[in-house]
């Protein structure tokens, strides 16, 4: 995989992310909602002076092309503009909400891989055994159960009923967050040497990340199983076994490694989705993340926030896909030679 290839991939996806902001910008302006009416109170919305100041302040009195141009100019300076709903820099909003989602999604995808891949491999090796049925059954439940339902059931059972899970939120009530460096409580608390806050934050992350991981785990289990079954049926596996290669090496080096490419592709997309679309989990677990921020911005037609989030989600997909593509080279050397 050459450097030019990587640069070209980055360039194309950046252009696509920008194009997506244009599409979102246009769509948002053509739907029949007036952001001033969506934001201002009933009384203020009837006062022409307040309405005019509001439009001017948020640049809504300018032609559409000019509004978009201003957005691009700001973007070139690393400024995503100011959110109409939260009244502060979109970048500040994203800086606040992104770490919560990043921690949640990362733990969820790690859990999904840690459980999904071994389970899928076991199910493939022990095809049609009770273990296979169990793996297929649980993955089916994971895929089929609606996240909001699963989230609430998990919370009601482990927090409300068994009382072994901590309360919703990123930390216990009244617990001060660690001094902000990255915004990731796990990292920041460790950096500050504050193990109590680290434990507090990890405990609060566990249940929502398990819930968030459920669907992805199901999909990864099923894909791993299918991919492994396909690989285990290949001639080279039979040849390897015939040559007396140890079973561990057959499974891990020959079969699993070849089966991993579709799993990584799927995992990459799933991770990007987790980063941008965990609205229900964030709502039920009172997790102040990007999913809810994006949702609330869309509801009140907060143009700067919507455009900013589109760009961030686009970039997230870019980075994740790039990492996945690069990982192909590590898994399968033939990708580099192509």
């Amino acid at each position: 995989m050459s450097r030019n290839y990587v640069l070209a991939r980055v360039g194309v996806t950046l252009v696509m992310a920008l194009a997506a902001t244009l599409v979102v910008f246009l769509v948002a302006h053509f739907i029949p909602v007036d952001p001033v009416q969506a934001q201002l109170g009933d009384l203020a919305s009837s006062k022409p002076e307040i309405v005019a100041r509001y439009r001017a302040h948020w640049g809504l009195d300018k032609p559409l092309w000019e509004q978009y141009l201003i957005f691009l100019q700001r973007l070139s300076r690393g400024d995503l503009g100011q959110s109409i709903a939260t009244r502060r820099s979109v970048l500040d909003d994203i800086k606040q909400y992104a770490p919560a989602t990043f921690e949640l999604a990362t733990l969820a995808i790690l859990l999904a891989f840690s459980v999904g891949v071994p389970l899928g491999v076991l199910a493939a090796i022990k095809r049609d055994s009770w273990l296979d049925h169990l793996a297929r059954g649980t993955s089916l439940v994971g895929v089929a159960a609606p996240t909001f339902w699963l989230a609430f059931i998990a919370l009601a059972l482990f927090y409300g009923g068994l009382e072994i899970a901590p309360s919703p939120g990123r930390l216990d009530a009244g617990a001060a967050p660690p001094p902000q460096v990255t915004g990731l409580y796990l990292i920041d608390s460790l950096a500050a040497g504050d193990l109590r806050t680290f434990g507090n934050a990890l405990g609060h992350l566990l249940l929502p990340s398990i819930v968030l991981a459920a669907t992805t785990t199901g999909v990864i289990t099923r894909t791993t199983r299918a991919s492994m079954l396909d690989t285990l049926g290949q001639d080279y596996i039979r040849t390897a076994r015939a040559k007396g290669v140890r079973e561990r090496a057959v499974l891990l080096r020959h079969a699993l490694r070849n089966a991993l490419i579709p799993i990584f592709t799927l995992g990459g997309v799933a991770y990007a989705q987790l980063l941008s679309g965990a609205v229900m989990t964030e709502t039920i677990f009172a997790f102040p993340g990007m999913g809810r921020y994006a949702f609330q911005s869309a509801v009140v037609l907060d143009f700067p926030a919507i455009s900013g989030m589109t760009l961030v989600v686009g970039l997230t997909y870019l980075i994740v896909n790039l990492v996945v593509d690069l990982s192909y080279a590590a898994i399968d050397p033939r990708v580099v030679r192509r």
Partner: protein, 539 residues
């Protein structure tokens, strides 16, 4: 190593993962429940709409409970009594210049949390800053022409239009007095260019500079607001060392947290959840009459709906609706209903008046009116409402379905049109909808804030051109100094508005919060800040 070893290792890995998860739960699972501690009050509520804690800028639903605890106004109102204005930072006041101005005498020896004394300069700065920020809340100060400092403890507020009242507006947390010295230091302005050059909001979003019993220690957006006791408070200090307002957007999660004792009060529960909590040990439901209501706005525009442009047809609709069924069946009786567009509790509006001239279900009368209107076989129209939202614990959708079923009994077909809220608000405010189920809640506590819009901006939304006599009746009522006479004029106005049949008030709900028995003194108010946290004490 054989094939079995590989499987064994995978099993071991899965086992380790399971054990690690279990350990994590047991190690940190219990959390540190601090609600119920006598030094900390914890409220669970949805604060996602809080976008500023600058008292002169915030204008959303969830912020005032915080603002009222950290800032104080010149005057206030007590829960349940929305007629009598009570002293707070002003001990007394008088009307001067033939009703064109009010002079307020400030309470002596009051200090801000900053340690600076409260003076008339602070009042002048606060009121002028609110006016000149030209933000959402500035509409409340529109009638203030000028503010003059008479002496350090006396301030004169001159009105633009002396027929419009001022006192009931001044109870709003947006008139919370700030320490002008500190706000100026932080870039705050009270001059006409404040809308462009005021820089104090960033500071005021993290620190409060008021005279209230508590002070803002920390606001983490969509997470938590932390208040601590104000050491300089002029009355008995606040009962709690800290108050935490936790963001819990999901009401079912609020129920779980309340039951676990992790919060002392849950503020956003639905009617069903409140019902289910009835009889739960250590939990009680606190109720308070609101001044909000859900209503249907029917257009007068023949272009939008020829039948609805006919007053008799609109009256027929209003006689066909089963109001008691909505109140008893959909919200468990936790609501009342005013006769017209002034809520019970203000402007002489009572439930007796509703019985006297308000609409009630009378299907025979509805059918007779339909025949008179030229629609003996009924008609159809589009009924719009916001999807995914509720009022008083009942969704617009459920109410719309009930209204649809009621109207079908007199052969009127309501075509239900759920719309996204922003979309609905835009179309409704432009007057583009035939019939809309929507909601009214007050910006301040004066009946003029209900009566005025009905002949002005709301009239435009239903394409009604009110007769000049009605407009002048409203103006006369707004400016009438004698309360009894004023109430009489508003009743007269309500009768005319009711006959016009553009605005059909369905119900005026109760507010309901669920609290634990760890606290006492928790009372709900309709005045705009949900509850006064100063009154809440540990049990």
């Amino acid at each position: 190593m054989n094939r079995g070893d590989g499987i064994q290792r995978l099993r071991v890995a899965a086992l380790i993962l399971g054990v690690a998860s279990a350990l994590l739960f047991t190690a940190w699972g219990g959390g540190h429940a601090i609600a119920g501690a006598k030094t900390i009050l914890i409220l669970g509520t949805d604060i996602s709409d809080t976008n500023s804690l600058d008292p002169q800028r915030q204008f959303v639903y969830s912020a005032p409970i915080t603002e009222h605890a950290v800032y104080e106004t010149l005057v206030t109102m007590t829960p349940g009594n929305y007629k009598d204005v009570k002293p707070l930072l002003a001990t007394r006041w008088e009307t001067v210049d033939n009703g064109g101005a009010l002079v307020f005498h400030l309470r002596p020896n009051v200090k801000f949390v900053t340690g600076n004394p409260l003076t008339a300069d602070d009042v002048k700065f606060t009121f002028e800053r609110l006016k000149y920020l030209k933000d959402d809340a500035s509409a409340l100060a529109e009638n203030i022409a000028r503010v003059d400092v008479i002496d350090p403890l006396t301030v004169k507020v001159t009105l633009d239009d002396k027929t419009q009242p001022l006192l009931p507006f001044l109870i709003a947390p947006n008139f919370g007095i700030v320490d002008s010295k500190v706000v100026r230091e932080q870039g705050g302005l009270s001059t006409p260019d404040a809308d462009k050059n005021d820089k104090a909001t960033t500071y005021l979003d993290q620190r409060s500079v008021g005279t209230g019993p508590y002070t803002l220690a920390r606001w983490s957006r969509s997470t938590e607001i932390e208040l601590v006791r104000n050491p300089n408070y002029w009355r008995q200090p606040g009962a709690f060392e800290r108050v935490l307002i936790r963001h819990i957007p999901d009401s079912a999660t609020q129920v779980l947290q309340l039951k676990r004792g992790d919060i002392d009060a849950a503020l956003n529960l639905t009617f069903d959840q409140l019902n289910a909590l009835g009889g739960t040990p250590a939990i009680s439901i606190v109720k308070g009459q609101s001044l909000d209501f859900m209503y249907i706005a029917f257009t007068s525009s023949p272009a939008l709906s020829p039948p609805l442009s006919n007053k008799l047809a609109r009256q027929a609709l209003m006689y066909a609706i089963d109001y008691d069924g909505i109140i008893k069946g959909l919200i468990g009786g936790d609501a009342i209903r005013p006769a017209s567009f002034i809520p019970v509790g203000l402007g002489g509006s009572t439930t007796d008046l509703t019985r006297e001239f308000g609409y009630r279900q009378d299907l025979e009368k509805a059918r007779a009116l339909l025949s008179q209107a030229g629609y003996p076989n009924g008609f159809s129209f589009d009924l719009s409402y916001g999807s995914g939202a509720d009022v008083g614990g009942v969704s617009y959708e459920v109410v719309a379905q009930k209204v649809q079923a009621d109207l079908a009994r007199v052969k009127i077909q309501a075509n239900l049109k759920p719309m996204e809220q922003g979309n609905l608000r835009t179309a409704f405010r432009k007057g583009d909808l035939a019939a809309t189920i929507t909601f009214w809640n007050p910006d301040a506590m004066d009946p003029s804030l209900w009566a005025d819009p009905t002949v002005q901006r709301v009239a435009k939304r239903v394409r009604w051109e009110p007769d000049p006599s009605i407009v002048s009746l409203v103006k006369q009522a707004n400016g009438e100094p004698n309360t009894q006479k004023r109430d009489g004029l508003y009743v007269q106005f309500q009768k005319l508005l009711s006959d016009q049949a553009n605005l059909c008030v369905l119900f005026q709900p109760m507010y309901s919060h669920a609290i634990r028995d760890s606290i006492t003194g928790y009372q709900l108010t309709a005045a705009g800040w949900q509850a006064d946290l100063y009154d809440v004490k540990p049990r």
